[in-house]
């Protein structure tokens, strides 16, 4: 009894067939592979073990686990997933569970039908990939995986179907579904809000800015060429060194780390009042941002985005401006977001500082960096105005001949002292924190701003205006100092030490430094061009497909006809179209009386006859299919089964009342091997 529970009644696997099993295993890998990095570390190993074990079981005819063992395995899967994700209620845990059960399904897949079920199951894992990324590569991958799994299903339902035929049929199926998919894509009413906006955290976003900075953090970002966001300008893009994309503001420094401290508040009405005359005097810069999901609320805009009109976001999304002049979305950005913004480049931010804010912007940790503090104090006493102190600092930074590098020498306890007076090498984080500390020591309120600097115009784009990519490698940190009567003024000490960083981007600043991804140094080469092309493709994909949300849909459709610009009408139209499709298809099926048309059958039969006739055997007009195939199998005895089955299928197609399976006839026809014997 125990034995039976452990090993089941069926002694072994085998009905699946090695080649079809391999197809299925590859299909499952295609479905779960992209999830691997997001899964708990143990799961990919377990999956690999199950896949290999299943393959070995097929080869060695190992016994398959019985119901008892399978119950134990799946319960263990549930518990392990629950423990790894801390419960089963999150979407990420759901995906993990789906993948675990998909792998376990293999342990009980013994028949072709089981294989079919596993292949259908795997399609859900493919669909789950869209929860994490909808880039063009991802979409292409998903389409490929879908096609593969369709082919696997065909292989399981049609015994003996060759891989080529299965692939062809699967491609045909995908192509046939394309018009319906396109129709539904354009017409099917979008729900307001993101379709996939269901908060998949848990390591889905590995790169992106953070609202705290240790010296070293930005450097790891600098090595990632992932796209942070894209910008479409109406005309020519501004110069690179004017492009400061504002992110979180960091206030509090404890000697090793900068943090944003308390949550920023909303901009107050009187600040708005103060801003108004300033903004009225300068012309705004308009542009459109395509933000990649980054799991935070920050919306990157140029210093300083119009605080009055706000951003224009898709319907259902809200954003607000903080008192630190940062735009924040009401929800975390978990799907690609498209918004228009207008900014006043180069404007200052005139705010009066409250005493509390002032003391916060002057605070330095006690007992750290004595040399730096001493230098700052000295400047503060030496120069009368804050502006003179900043100018002196600039002169000093240039004179010191700092070296910009992404591989700074190690720092001791007094990080800033070590950097400024001993190592003299570092990157933006080092420059910004030491400059801010110097200013605070000189009694000038200062803070750090994290964000992105620059942007890469794609010369291949044929849009009316410049199209620009901002990558994670362009993450940057700069300083804002508060000057009497002028408000917060942006100062970028990195620019003093390494002016190229701001004008030419990272690669030219760092000649010969290998830690920069090779891609950066290939600008202009063929590979660089390829990368630009790929990026453009992705941009178009995002512009045309991903950002086609409810609002754009209605706008687009009402442009075609005003009647279409109404969700109710759209739902009705989709319903009618789908009903017409369904009725049309079913009546087509009915008219054919559930069978392939006579001429279609006859065409394939004649093709088969020609194939046999080439070997010198001809059907007599009065000879029935059965009799002819009988004669043929006397000539090719090894093909007897196929030949008689072909005659049976042909007769069934022509003479039976039941729905005949044309596929079986085709499969048999391809299986037929007529060699000279």
């Amino acid at each position: 009894m125990v034995r039976r529970l452990l090993f089941g009644r069926q002694p072994q696997y085998g009905a699946l067939g090695l080649s079809r099993l391999l197809l299925l295993l590859v299909g499952i890998l295609l479905a779960v592979g992209p999830h691997f990095l997001r899964l708990p570390v143990w799961l990919p190993f377990i999956i690999a073990v199950i896949l290999l074990w299943r393959l070995a079981a097929e080869l060695r005819h190992w016994p398959m686990p019985g119901p008892g063992l399978r119950v134990v395995l799946s319960s263990a899967g549930f518990i392990a997933i629950g423990l790894s994700y801390g419960g089963l209620r999150s979407e990420a845990a759901g995906v993990g569970l789906l993948i675990t059960m998909l792998a376990l399904k293999l342990t009980e897949s013994a028949t072709a039908r089981d294989g079919l079920v596993a292949a259908i199951f795997a399609i859900f894992a493919v669909a789950a990939q869209a929860l994490y990324s909808q880039s063009i590569i991802q979409t292409a991958w998903m389409l490929f995986a879908l096609g593969w799994l369709l082919a696997v299903q065909l292989a399981f339902t049609h015994e003996g179907l060759s891989l080529g035929k299965a692939a062809k049929a699967a491609t045909a199926l995908l192509l046939q579904s394309l018009p319906i998919a396109l129709l539904l894509f354009v017409l099917f009413p979008r729900l307001p809000g993101p379709l996939w906006g269901i908060g998949l955290g848990g390591g889905a976003f590995t790169t992106g800015l953070s609202d705290e900075m240790r010296l070293g953090d930005v450097s790891s970002l600098a090595q990632s060429s992932e796209v942070a966001f894209r910008v479409q300008w109406p005309g020519k893009a501004p110069a690179t060194n004017e492009l400061y994309w504002r992110g979180p503001v960091l206030w509090d420094y404890d000697g090793s780390e900068w943090q944003k401290g308390r949550e920023p508040g909303l901009i107050t009405a009187d600040v708005r009042q103060q801003l108004q005359p300033l903004l009225a005097n300068s012309a705004p810069l308009n542009y459109e941002v395509f933000l990649e999901p980054h799991e935070k609320r920050w919306l990157f805009v140029l210093d300083m985005a119009a605080p009055l009109q706000g951003l224009s976001l898709p319907e259902g999304r809200k954003a607000s401006l903080s008192d630190q002049m940062q735009w924040l979305s009401s929800k975390n950005v978990v799907d690609p977001l498209r918004y228009q913004a207008s900014s006043f480049a180069g404007s200052r931010l005139p705010l009066a500082l409250s005493p509390r804010t002032q003391s916060r912007a002057l605070r330095l940790p006690a007992g750290f960096n004595p040399k730096t503090i001493a230098l700052g104090r000295e400047w503060g006493q030496q120069y009368g105005s804050s502006a003179a102190v900043v100018a002196a600092a600039q002169r000093w930074f240039i004179a010191q001949q700092f070296r910009y590098t992404l591989r700074p020498s190690p720092l001791g306890d007094n990080q800033l002292d070590d950097f400024l007076f001993r190592n003299k090498n570092g990157f933006c984080g080092h420059f910004a924190s030491s400059f801010a500390a110097l200013m605070r020591a000189a009694n000038i309120p200062s803070r750090l701003v994290a964000g992105y600097q620059g942007g890469e115009v794609n010369p291949l784009a044929d849009y009316a205006g410049d199209y620009m990519v901002v990558r994670q490698s362009q993450a940057h940190i700069w300083v804002e100092v508060w000057l009497e009567d002028q408000g917060w003024l942006r100062v970028d000490p990195t620019g003093w030490a390494a002016p190229g960083r701001l004008t030419d981007g990272l690669a030219d600043t760092l000649p010969g430094e290998t830690s920069v991804p090779t891609l950066f140094s290939l600008q202009g080469s063929m590979f660089g061009r390829l990368r630009l092309n790929y990026d453009l493709l992705n941009y178009r994909w995002q512009r045309m497909v991903l950002s086609y949300d409810g609002e754009r849909q209605l706008k687009f459709l009402s442009g075609i006809h005003p009647w279409l610009g109404n969700i109710g009408n759209l739902i009705a139209l989709c319903g009618v179209l789908l009903a017409v499709l369904a009725i049309g298809y079913s009546s087509w099926l009915l008219r054919k009386d559930g069978r392939v048309s006579y001429s279609e059958v006859e065409k394939h039969w004649q093709k088969l006859l020609r194939k046999i006739a080439k070997q010198g055997l001809h059907q007599r007009p009065q000879e029935t299919a059965t009799a002819f195939m009988q004669r043929a199998s006397e000539r090719w005895p090894s093909q007897r089964l196929t030949l008689t089955a072909l005659a049976r299928e042909y007769s069934a197609l022509r003479y039976s009342k039941l729905e005949a399976d044309f596929g079986r006839f085709e499969v048999l026809a391809t299986k037929l091997q007529l060699d000279e014997e």
Partner: protein, 304 residues
């Protein structure tokens, strides 16, 4: 395979135990029974016509009667007659041997045409009318008539119109060498027949006939049947196949298909029964010529 089809397979095995080596003829005879037709066995004496009829009755569980046809046989000898009963002072109908489920009409061509036609009417109608009273024959009613082609003296050959009433004409023929050896070595046929248990019942045969009628014939198939019928009529000199022959062909082919576990009739089924069903209706009384014509038709007519 349905239970009925399993049963019919069992009957074929049982029949082959008794009639050695005549698989095809026995299948055709069964087909004739299932299609609701009547069977004419034509052969030289001694090849087992009578044994075959008895075996059919025994295996299919049919109530069996035998009438030996002679020149002086009268219709009432077959159908039965009204007999005066002195005790009740009235005429009462006494059923003749025709009131059975399997009637063996041995040497049918020895009887006078009057007697022959009396039987053939009963076969066609399924009932007997005597003195204005109609008596239904039992169901199923299956006539196996035998005739002897060589003994032409003292016989009245069946006219074509009456031959048409038989669905099939079969010849058993001499057994093959090995089969004959088995026959010679084996048990006495009469003893085998006596020991034979019925495999089916009359009710089952009626159910089988119903199943046979539901066998699908497609329009493609009917095209082929009609092409054969048309070709027989174009042959010219002799009489072609009648619509009744067409119906018989269809029913026989359906039964043949059902017998072979098919759910629909194929051209193969039609070809298999064609000579047996059409042979005696062609050739204007010349038996061999009729069969040859039927064969020729199969060779000439292409399957559409």
């Amino acid at each position: 395979m349905s239970q009925l089809q399993a049963d019919i397979t069992a009957t074929q095995q049982a029949l082959q135990q008794i009639i050695v080596g005549k698989t095809q003829a026995l299948k055709l005879a069964t087909t004739c029974l299932l299609a609701g037709g009547h069977l004419l066995l034509e052969d030289v004496p001694g090849v087992g016509k009578t044994t075959a009829a008895k075996a059919l009755a025994a295996v299919f569980g049919l109530q069996f009667n035998r009438v030996q046809f002679t020149a002086d046989l009268l219709p009432a000898d077959i159908l039965g007659a009204a007999v005066y009963h002195a005790d009740s002072t009235e005429f009462r109908f006494h059923p003749g041997p025709v009131f059975c489920q399997l009637l063996l009409a041995d040497e049918i061509n020895r009887a006078s045409p009057r007697t022959q036609s009396a039987l053939l009417e009963a076969m066609a109608e399924g009932r007997v009318t005597q003195d204005g009273t109609t008596h239904a024959l039992p169901q199923p009613f299956f006539v196996v008539a035998t005739q002897n082609p060589l003994e032409q003296v003292g016989t009245w050959p069946l006219p074509e119109s009456q031959l048409d009433r038989f669905m099939m004409r079969l010849s058993l023929g001499y057994p093959a060498h090995a089969d004959e050896r088995l026959l010679l070595q084996g048990e006495d046929r009469e003893a085998l027949l006596a020991a034979q248990q019925a495999v089916t019942s009359a009710e089952q045969i009626l159910a089988m006939r119903k199943a046979v009628r539901s066998i699908h014939v497609s329009s493609d198939w009917l095209d082929y049947l009609q092409a054969l019928l048309a070709a027989s009529r174009e042959a010219g000199v002799q009489q072609g196949l009648s619509p009744r022959a067409g119906l018989a062909l269809k029913q026989a082919a359906q039964a043949w298909a059902w017998l072979h576990n098919s759910e629909y009739a194929k051209p193969d089924d039609l070809q298999a029964v064609f000579v047996a069903v059409a042979g005696h209706r062609l050739g204007a009384g010349d038996q061999r010529a009729g069969e040859q014509q039927a064969q020729a038709l199969l060779q000439q007519v292409a399957i559409p």
